[in-house]
Point group: C2
Chain length 269, copies 2
């Protein structure tokens, strides 16, 4: 087993590129294979049963690239299908929920944590369960924010309408005196300025993708899987559909040029 | 061939229920089988290639119910995959584009027509092409409005944020002195109040679903396929995933109780 094998990362679509961005920053020598299931995006409003079936197929795409570890960049999949991926993969699997919950537990002083995510993630109670496991004294307050994903994909990251929508979604959380909020969807870091402003800047924002990159780095060390090569790494991007604007908005999520994006066939057939 | 066989209607998801509503109103004795591909919704931002593959599968679901006619309620499918459905089905096929274009051509006095729809529908130029075919003197002005679908699904049909977003999307059309606008997406009729207000109520709104119901009615007469029974018709609803809120928001689209919704398997596998 060569440690130059890539880390596999998958997501329902484009949002997981924020996790790739964090991984590249923390682990600048790791090769990465990314798969976004853009033919069936979004997963957030879909049932756990369907998301579990999709997660199994996404895992197989990455296993086909001989990955040494799988990072589930999608909060919805991490929330409802972590076990599916773990069972299928013979390599270590990291979801974004537990790292995000750990970071939130470290950050909260008042032990009052807000969680925002898709309907699927919020309904699953995955973050509250993880936080309770880490520290039973922590109280959690959840809100689904379904419009944040399309707003981020439309690129309206600092639009007046986005602020109005954020105010409406986040108002109940402002009443709960939270001091920490988990951005429980990979699209939300793009909206962090408006989210922070609406929460009056007194609340610490936890980016689960950032937290996950830290966990991945530690695990690679512990498992002696870190790439010893100091060459420029190879980042490869695969999607099940190449939609309009993928490359354009993808670079905003990734924070650098995307390069060539390959389409994986068989997802619409 | 019995004329009591159902009319088959399909859509990428829930939006096509506005077409079922129009069909039920114009044709109160027709049995209807509806299929919404909620496991893969939305189609609007996806590539024509993927939408064509999905359309073929959706058609097969309806053919399995021995339908006498297929109505493509989805504008995106009607725009990019009408030929796929026609080729596959041995029964008459009606898309929403041509009926919508005909209604717009009848309505416009200044021969200046606006078209709003998904990115897929707008990029296809299906409405401008149809309008040009009907009357080459008509000028068209198109705008994709990607956030209208999630806003309608969220039920924010008359929210201040929706109005701001509508203003931004529709502003370029207000400069073009259009007198008619095609609501080229089945979700948009839910937003017609705000669209009309933003356009200063001087513009005629064309609901392609309504127009399509008229075409279907005429075709059933011409082909002698109208149901002669005057019994209460049977409306059946099938989906590829039962997502959160399906029944709740579905009734808003349909304008009546939905009854039992059946899940068709095999779409996520």
């Amino acid at each position: 087993m060569s440690n130059s094998r890539p880390i596999g990362v998958f997501d329902s679509g484009i949002g997981g590129l924020t996790v790739v961005r964090a991984l590249s920053h923390h682990l600048p020598h790791e090769n990465i294979v990314y798969f976004g299931d853009t033919a069936r995006v979004p997963y957030g409003p879909k049932s756990a049963q369907v998301v579990r079936e999709y997660a199994a197929q996404d895992t197989d795409v990455l296993l086909g690239h001989d990955v040494k570890m799988i990072v589930i960049a999608c909060n919805t999949v991490s929330a409802v299908a972590l076990d599916v991926v773990q069972k299928r993969a013979k390599v270590p699997v990291v979801g974004v929920i537990f790292p995000g919950a750990e970071a939130a537990a470290r950050a909260t002083m008042k032990k009052r944590v807000g969680i925002i995510g898709t309907i699927g993630t919020v309904t699953s109670n995955a973050y509250p369960n993880a936080l309770r496991q880490i520290d039973p004294a922590i109280q959690t307050f959840s809100r689904a924010c379904p419009l944040f994903v399309p707003l981020a994909e439309e690129g309206w990251i600092d639009h007046k309408a986005t602020e109005l929508i954020a105010k409406e979604y986040l108002f109940p959380l402002t009443l709960e005196k939270i001091d920490t909020i988990v951005l429980g969807c990979t699209h939300y870091p793009l909206l962090k300025d408006v989210i922070s402003r609406v929460l009056h800047q007194t609340v610490t924002l936890i980016d689960s993708g950032e937290a996950t990159a830290g966990t991945v780095s530690r695990l690679l060390d512990e498992l002696d899987l870190k790439n010893s090569s100091k060459l420029k790494p190879n980042l490869q991007f695969f999607v099940s559909d190449v939609p309009f604007k993928f490359t354009e908005i993808g670079e905003q999520f990734l924070g650098q040029k995307l390069g060539k994006v390959h389409r994986v066939s068989g997802f619409a057939a």
